[in-house]
Structure formats: structure tokens, C-alpha cells
Symmetry: C2
Subunit: 208 residues, 2 copies
DNA sequence: TACTTTGGTGAGTGCTTGCTCACCATCCAT
DNA sequence: ATGGATGGTGAGCAAGCACTCACCAAAGTA
């Protein structure tokens, strides 16, 4: 009798340390993304992950450490970089821009990451700098470099390459800002939107 | 003797209600802008305004009410709208774009407002919607309407007007994001930057 | 079987938060 | 002068916060 009661009572079959850590991080991700670092309590995270608050602190010494772990895990742009570099090598201008734009605007693009990034930038988390300077700026410099090259080759007008690259990312980032953060509805399909942005960037507004 | 002592002791000459309210709002503005709503305490605000916390709550029933008062006071785009409409009526395309871009990028542009807006958008404050839908969207629709008109007149290529307007604002907003929030240095002067962005937007990247 | 390690918790701790309340001080009108 | 309105405060409250601690339970291991 005693034994059975014992077995039945708490019996969710202990989870491994790594799994727990992962589930805590994923629970934290969506909470931090929606409410920010300061707007999220460790109690909420523990609850969302289905464990006690005490266990959270067994895995991460502080709330801050959990946040840092989360941010460094989320940063992953591999795959895109190679595709972009290939398109650049082949001078496939339009494909290059489409790749970059599509990566962020495409249907499955993770709005959580975008919100996390913005929050961390605004709240001034130290990981934010790392995030932007390492990951984001890779594409920044990559694109600026490519534009510079194409200007030298005479294919593009002699604009400032860095500003041109920033302008392009601006269009994309702003789109996500309106769509993911402010909740503006899409008014064309994802594909058509990307196409339109790229066309505008490459050819300008004025009828030539 | 007695009289003098009385006069000298607490003597900062009582401030009027309106002045106090204004100084509280201005103190709150910079604190909310740097730390967000949740990251700012009423104690900090009171301290920055040089009064007791209790007085703050005499002027604003809740922290939230102060935030709302602040946001609705900060929203003021008058002046620009008329100038833009005038340029539009005269079909001074470049001047119109320069006006819009300059308004946000110019040297004195208030970074506090931009941060406040972003924070309120991320934190999901109800004023945020009002802010964006009323103020921000005015220019959105204004510009989109103008672009549509110019397309009809055959001056612009037949692009989607709304997306084109968004793209333009995207460039500007992104510039401020990099500069005001992430702390990226300006690499050209304000004037040259604006000029470059407008030129890119109007003429495109590709040498025609 | 016994023992160490690891997963897991309830019940706190001290501190900070938004907010209140009783009270004082100064102005202005009568 | 005097009384009501208005500007202003110190002390404190209940709730919530990040974080801790003593302790239990289930595995692996000898």
C-alpha cells in the first residue's frame, strides 16, 4: 500500500539536465520576447516550463545568466551566409537581394527572435552588442562590400555602399517592425512584398 | 529673527501645479526612454524631478497615467505636415522626400521620442497603438497617396504605393535604430546621409 | 543492499515596488 | 486675522521580486 502510494504520487519520470535546460530556455524565450527581460519573472518562466522556481536556479545561477544563455543560443545565421556569398560570386544581383529579404520576411520567420533582439537592444543588455556587431553586422558588411564591388565594376551608380546596404536592411527591418511588433496586416503576399521591395531598391522610384 | 529663520529654512518658493506636472513629465520622459516603463521606478522619477514620491501620486493617480500623459504630450508633428503637403501640391518630389527624411535624421531630432515609441510598442502599451495609428500613419498614408498620384501621372514606375512608402520610412527608421538605439556612429554628415538615402530611393541602385 | 549523484520542491529571505495616509506649510480671498 | 485651498513630505503597507536552503526522491553504481 505504502509503496504504491509512493510510486503513484509524484511520478513524471525525471527529465535529464539538458532537456530541462532546453525547455527552460524555450519557455524563457517566448516570455522574454513578449514581455522583455524586466517584464518577465522567474516564477512565470518556471511555471511555463512546468517546474519549480528553485529548479530554474539550479540550472542558471541568475535570471541574467538564463537570458544570456538564451540569446547566445538563438544566434544562428549559418546557411544563409553561404547562399549569399555564392550569389555574390556569381554576380546574381537580384537573387542576392531576394535571399536577404526573403530570409527575414518569409512566412516562417521567427518573430520571437526579432522581438528579443529589439528588447535586448532597448534594455541595453550586454549581449545585444555582441548580437548586432557579430551576427547582424556580418551581413551589413557583406552587402556593403558587394555593393562597393559592383560600383567599381560600373554596374551600380556611385552611391555610398554602407548607406545603400543600411537602406536595404532598413526596408526589411521596418517591414518586420510593422508586421511583427505593431501588428500591421500584410497587404500583399510575402513573395510579392519581397519582389516589390527588391525591385524598388534596385531600380528606384522614378520612371527612367 | 523668528520670521527670518522661517523664511530661510524651506524656501524653494512653491511651484505651481502645472509647472510641477511638466517637470515630472520631462523627468519621466528621459527615464522611460532609457529604461522603459517597467525599468523605471516612481521613486527615480520623483528624485529626478526633485520632489517626493508622494507628490508624484498627487499629480498622477498611477504610474501608468503618468506614462499615458507623457506619450500623448509628446505626439506633435504639426508644421511638418503642412510643409509636406505644400511640396506635394507643387510636385517637388525631391523636396518632399528630403523634408520627411530630414525631419527624423536632422541633428536635433529627439532620440527620446524614438526610444519611447519603440518601448511602448514592444511593451504593448495601449497608447502605442494610438501613437502609431494616428501620428505615424498620417505620413504613411500621406506619402502613399502622393506616390499613387505620381504613378497615375506617369512620373513614377508602377510600384505598390503603400510598400514604396513603407520602404522609404523603413530606411529612415532603420537609420535611427542603428544610430540612436544601437549607438552606431554616423559615417557621413546628416545632410549627406539624407541626400544619399533620397537619391537611392528615387533613382535606385542600378546604373541606368 | 547501501551509497553517491542528480532531479526536484515548499517554504521561506530580504529587498524593492507602486501606492497611501496623516500631516505640515504656504498662498490667497475674505 | 482666519480659513480653505493648494503645494509638499516621511513613514509605512501589502504585494511582488530574485534568489536560497533544507530537504526529499529517483536513478546509477559498488
Amino acid at each position: 500500500m505504502k509503496k504504491i502510494a509512493k510510486l503513484v504520487r509524484h511520478h513524471p519520470a525525471r527529465t535529464s539536465g539538458h532537456q530541462r535546460q532546453a525547455s527552460l530556455i524555450s519557455a524563457a524565450a517566448s516570455l522574454f520576447a513578449t514581455n522583455g527581460f524586466r517584464g518577465t519573472t522567474t516564477k512565470q518562466i518556471a511555471l511555463a516550463a512546468g517546474v519549480s522556481e528553485a529548479l530554474l536556479f539550479k540550472h542558471f545561477p541568475t535570471k541574467h545568466a538564463l537570458y544570456t544563455a538564451l540569446l547566445s543560443e538563438k544566434a544562428d545565421y549559418s546557411g544563409l551566409q553561404e547562399a549569399v556569398e555564392e550569389a555574390a560570386a556569381k554576380r546574381e544581383d537580384k537573387r542576392l537581394f531576394m535571399l536577404l529579404a526573403n530570409y527575414r520576411i518569409r512566412k516562417g520567420a521567427d518573430p520571437i527572435l526579432f522581438r528579443l533582439l529589439l528588447f535586448s537592444a532597448l534594455e541595453g543588455h550586454e549581449m545585444s552588442d555582441m548580437f548586432f556587431r557579430q551576427q547582424y553586422r556580418v551581413f551589413h558588411d557583406l552587402l556593403a562590400g558587394y555593393i562597393r564591388q559592383r560600383i567599381d565594376e560600373g554596374a551600380y551608380r556611385p552611391l555610398d555602399p554602407l548607406l545603400a546596404a543600411r537602406a536595404f536592411f532598413g526596408v526589411i527591418v521596418h517591414h518586420r517592425l510593422l508586421h511583427d511588433i505593431l501588428g500591421f496586416p500584410m497587404h500583399l503576399t510575402h513573395e510579392a512584398t519581397v519582389e516589390e521591395y527588391v525591385s524598388l531598391f534596385m531600380n528606384g522610384l522614378i520612371r527612367q
